[in-house]
């Protein structure tokens, strides 16, 4: 594969999967800058090894696995406290147009959902994120993470159970 072909193939894979990879990274880390960093690193690794890696839809599994591992390593490195501090600086800004009590309620509820998601153990959260944001089925998630389909089913169930418990403690309202 010459340089031009290589860049062309990479650009196609990139255009196809970047949004998903970024969305999954952000859903796990809840930090825009870190998500950008992790997404870039995942695609950079793909670009460096793409002669030996699949293209098209198959590339998605590889990219998601790498970005998940990068996020996991980041989470281990920084720890929960550091992430909480960063989140306060990077959390999405309130919509200045949608004002009033309703907007405030929505904002608080979203924050509660974020907090609840963050309390779920990493392995469960990742599976749930891939299910919800990645729109992947159990088989695809298992393939991405290198775990069995049965294991994915259990993890999705447990993640939902825990999320439900945490959300029950706060009165969540997102219309």
């Amino acid at each position: 594969m010459n340089g031009v072909d290589r860049e062309s193939v990479f650009a196609q894979v990139y255009a196809r999967h970047f949004k998903l990879v970024f969305r999954v990274a952000y859903s796990i880390t809840r930090n825009e800058a870190i998500s950008e960093e992790m997404s870039q690193e995942a695609f950079l690794r793909y670009y460096e090894r793409m002669d030996r890696l699949p293209t098209g839809d198959e590339a998605r599994y590889w990219l998601l696995r790498v970005v998940r591992n990068l996020c996991y390593n980041h989470e281990k490195r920084k720890g929960r406290e550091a992430r909480a501090n960063q989140r306060s600086f990077h959390e999405p800004q309130r919509d200045s147009v949608n004002e009033g009590e309703q907007a405030l309620l929505e904002q608080e509820s979203r924050q509660q959902v974020l907090d609840a998601l963050e309390r779920i153990p990493f392995n469960l959260r990742t599976v749930l994120v891939m299910k919800e944001y990645g729109e992947m089925n159990y088989k695809e998630i298992g393939r991405t993470l290198g775990i069995s389909e049965g294991n994915v089913k259990i993890r999705v169930f447990r993640a939902r159970q825990q999320l439900q418990e945490y959300l029950k403690k706060g009165e969540v309202h997102v219309p």
Binding site: A11, E36, S39, L44, F157
Partner: protein, 180 residues
Amino acid sequence: MCPDKILLSRFYDKDLERSEMDRIRNHLAECGSCGEYVDALGEQSRLIHAVPIPSSSDKEARILDRILHGRTMWSRNRTFTFHLPVPIAAAAVLLFFFMTGLLLSRQLPFSGGADPGSPMAGGELQENGGSRENLDELLVGMKHAGFFDEVEMDIPFDMDSDIVFDPELTMASTAYPGGE
């Protein structure tokens, strides 16, 4: 009998065979508790998707450019840090203070506390300045204190000779066969 919740979770994800899906759907029509559980899963999913995710469109072009042109975020932001081992750093600090002290002591103006005969006394003696006078006074003071009285000198040459020479060297020279 109600299906277990894992099965309901799979039903919500449409991860069951058609016959199994139908069976649970029929059950949900009759069982309020299981119906509530499945509704809660739907609500949960809606809440998750209600959380805003920042737009990635601005980052997309930027990151692609960095990757294809080798300008990674790390190379752009990387700062060079040099880590020196602690023992070497400590030795360097000690050496620095030692050398600084040494240099300062050499540059100090001549004072009575230092040995006037020592090269460490430093400072140029100025003919018109006060340093030369101070030195004279100090030497006079030392003489009165008997500093020079106890000095003994061995003179290694013959005082009678017109030429000042070392007699031992002269003898060695004459004993040498090739010497004159």
